[in-house]
């Protein structure tokens, strides 16, 4: 009788289905708010959202972000407003995926997405440059830089309408 009592849990688990996720073939979906690899977003018309203000770099507790801004001109326009991010680098081995950059961004340009396969053979490969972070332009939209009419796209943030 003691034997049956002792093995009760074991026998119960023998009849259950295994819980193992066969990882490389089968993946467990991440939570909706999971913070993975960053992406730099664009507006629907194809302009970059990042305006090079470096607030993300200031908010970063691990000093993983390096932003260098440059002036937008009408002949060479990357983002609405005065400036754009000329270099934007994130060291994925420094980043702790806390999402403070996402909170600090005034234009919602940087978003932590759901990709998490971040392994490197070399430490230098871990530095993601702007080319690797920036999303491709949406379908039909031209890639940056643009040639624009003077007087258009001169505000970094769209004009807000007063709520009723």
């Amino acid at each position: 009788m003691n034997l049956i009592n002792g093995f009760a849990t074991t026998i119960k688990h023998l009849l259950e289905r295994p819980v193992t996720v066969q990882y490389p073939e089968q993946e467990r979906a991440v939570r909706e708010r999971f913070k993975g690899r960053h992406a730099l977003k664009r507006y629907d018309n194809g302009l970059e959202k990042c305006i090079g203000c470096s607030l993300c770099a200031a908010a970063c507790p691990a000093d993983a972000i390096w932003v260098e801004a440059a002036e937008n001109t009408d002949e060479e326009r990357y983002s609405p407003g005065e400036r754009y991010a000329k270099t934007y680098e994130i060291n994925m081995l420094r980043c702790i995926f806390c999402g403070y950059c996402e909170d600090a961004c005034p234009t919602e340009a940087i978003v932590l997405e759901h990709k998490y396969r971040l392994s490197f053979h070399d430490r230098r490969d871990a530095i993601y440059t702007k080319e690797r972070l920036l999303d491709p332009p949406p379908a039909g939209a031209p890639d940056t830089p643009w040639v624009t009419e003077p007087g258009t796209f001169d505000r970094a943030i769209p004009i807000m309408q007063d709520p009723d």
Binding site: P18, A62, S119, H121
Partner: protein
């Protein structure tokens, strides 16, 4: 010619020596646990039922360096721990590999200060760096599979 008629329908499998050795090395790579901080929790989770690293022939986390092939440095390494890490690495038999798991082991991570070694590659040669704070068990398994891919391309001429 002599052996073929006797085997009948069985057939013969041939391979190269280096492929056979690399296959053996990747399919039975015993990791040494070097859990130093919170990354160790994810390393335990990768070993447990949900992710089960024994599917890759890594069922035993050896607490002894003399029985292990792979050192998973999981967590921040303090300057006081660094000589211990190096000594344990020296005690591991060849061939040996190191996976630097998580931000702190890879480059100091958030702890950019005098107490923490800014990356274990200052003291031991690292093969794969796994980013994340801490990395998910999938990320660790992905890093280990990257290491396996590299080992599969090892050549005998490089071993000497």
């Amino acid at each position: 010619m002599g052996i073929t008629p006797k085997l009948g329908e069985l057939g013969v499998v041939t391979t190269r020596l280096e492929d056979a050795i690399n296959w053996g090395r990747t399919r039975a790579m015993w990791p040494m646990l070097f859990g130093l901080a919170c990354c160790a929790i994810e390393m335990m989770s990768a070993q447990a039922a949900n992710y089960d690293m024994s599917r890759f022939g890594m069922e035993l986390m050896r607490p002894s360096p003399r029985q292990s092939d792979l050192m998973i440095v999981a967590g921040r390494v303090t300057r006081k721990m660094a000589p211990v890490l190096r000594q344990l690495y020296d005690q591991m038999p060849e061939p040996k590999w190191v996976v630097s798991m998580g931000d702190c082991a890879s480059c100091g991570g958030i702890f950019n200060n005098y107490a923490i070694v800014q990356g274990v590659d200052e003291i031991v040669p690292v093969d794969v760096y796994v980013a994340g704070c801490p990395p998910r068990p999938e990320q660790l398994i992905h890093g280990i599979m990257m290491l396996h891919e590299r080992i599969k391309h090892d050549r005998i001429s490089d071993w000497a």
